[in-house]
């Protein structure tokens, strides 16, 4: 399903600005029996799905999205969050893929008997895992989502030092050939932002309207 692009944020009407989702994450509201413990990069989409589907049993907490730039820290951060939140909920769904943790998140899920979102990362489940993994020919694609299109500077340009040292572009992106924007919403502003990101990286641009792909069905099972 494609979301309407409502920026209102998390369950309970809490607003979660992107920069906060990037650096601080999101606290749960404390309502509902099932907690989705997710990446901050998914907060808006998950919150919107909860609201649109009327899943009142479901609460959302997010870790900072920027953890993705140091994936070895995701599983330990998740473990700490699980310990904090699990007394208050019947179930927890881990709102991550493998996300570059090299099986670390899977091992954690096994320890606690939890499920996580399907596939290696959000690009895969947004597009549909089977379809994404069939893209053998797409090894030179740099993927953006709505969140990444909005947070391109904070998530990509600044952490990679490209604002201060644009000469590093070749080292990071020399083997990429295109930016593929996997769009969750119909938003011309985000399309323009993603296109500008591609131009900045010197790459071709493609927009693919995916909606939320497998995310909605995975949440529906929780």
């Amino acid at each position: 399903m494609s979301l309407p692009g409502d920026p209102s944020g998390a369950p309970g009407g809490m607003t979660a600005p992107d920069d906060a989702l990037n650096s601080d994450g999101l606290a749960p509201t404390g309502t509902g029996r099932v907690l989705v413990l997710a990446c901050g990069a998914l907060a808006r989409e998950i919150a919107d799905l909860i609201r649109l589907n009327g899943w009142a049993h479901m609460d959302l907490a997010c870790l900072p999205a920027i953890l993705h730039n140091t994936p070895d820290r995701i599983a330990p951060a998740l473990r700490a969050a699980i310990e904090t939140h699990r007394p208050r909920y019947d179930r927890i769904l881990i709102g991550y893929g493998d996300c570059g943790s090299g099986g670390g998140i899977d091992a954690l899920c096994e320890d606690y008997g939890l499920d996580r979102l399907p596939g290696p990362h959000c690009y895969a489940f947004y597009e549909g895992v089977d379809r994404f993994l069939a893209h053998d020919e797409e090894i030179g694609a740099f993927y953006l989502t709505d969140f990444l299109a909005r947070q391109f500077d904070a998530f990509v340009i600044r952490p990679l030092g490209l604002d201060r040292h644009p000469e590093l572009r070749e080292a990071y992106f020399g083997h990429y050939d295109k930016v593929v924007y996997l769009a969750q919403t119909e938003d011309p502003h985000l399309d323009a932002a993603a296109r500008a990101a591609a131009r900045r990286l010197g790459l071709d641009y493609e927009r693919r309207a995916t909606g939320c792909g497998d995310l909605g069905s995975a949440l529906a099972r929780a």
């Binding site: 570059g100 090299g102 053998d136 952490p159 590093l168 990071y172 083997h175």
Partner: protein, 233 residues
Amino acid sequence: MADEEEEIILSDLDDAELVEQMMDDLYDGLKDEITEGVNILLERGWAPYRILTEALVAGMTIVGKDFRDGILFVPEVLLAANAMKAGMSILKPLLAETGAPTIGRMVIGTVKGDIHDIGQNLVTMMMEGAGFEVKNIGINNPLENFIEAAGEFDADILGMSALLTTTMPYMKVVIDAMKEQGIRDDYIVLVGGAPLNEEFGRAIGADAYCRDAAVAVETAKEFMARRHNRVSA
């Protein structure tokens, strides 16, 4: 004014001060200063190998350590590496002429389906700095590339790199093919990349997982020493 930094004239420094300054400049990723420093030391009669080890490798080792400790991040490491590369481009032809010692020979590449080569390029540079001859076969390599290159280059070590969870299992495909061909034990197989860990390295049958370039150098040296001991025993 006391609060204005004085410009440092590299050629005014004595050897010890210059080497120390070069290590600082390397840390700060100052390519032009490293080039100048290398040329000054060469003019002063330093052997290329000594410049490489005492100024460049020693400086880069500090960079690597601070990266591991979370003091430096990838952009700073890349800038330092570019500065070191500038120095090495002067020294490399001279090292070949002066017959600098070679510890071993390595083929390194990123596995099939993966185009990320920052890690393997750093490893290549540090291995060369430590006295290894390295053939870097680049990105997106099917198993045939690894096996052919290792044979043609008469490698002691085969290094494989991957950044993606989806591509790292291909390392096992390469190792299994080496086993099938009866050549697995002809090589020291080292693996590395952000999503890997020691357990994965063991599970796929590699000799070692190397968490960063400095560890790769130390691990390679250890394995080469063991190999020499075995041969001479």
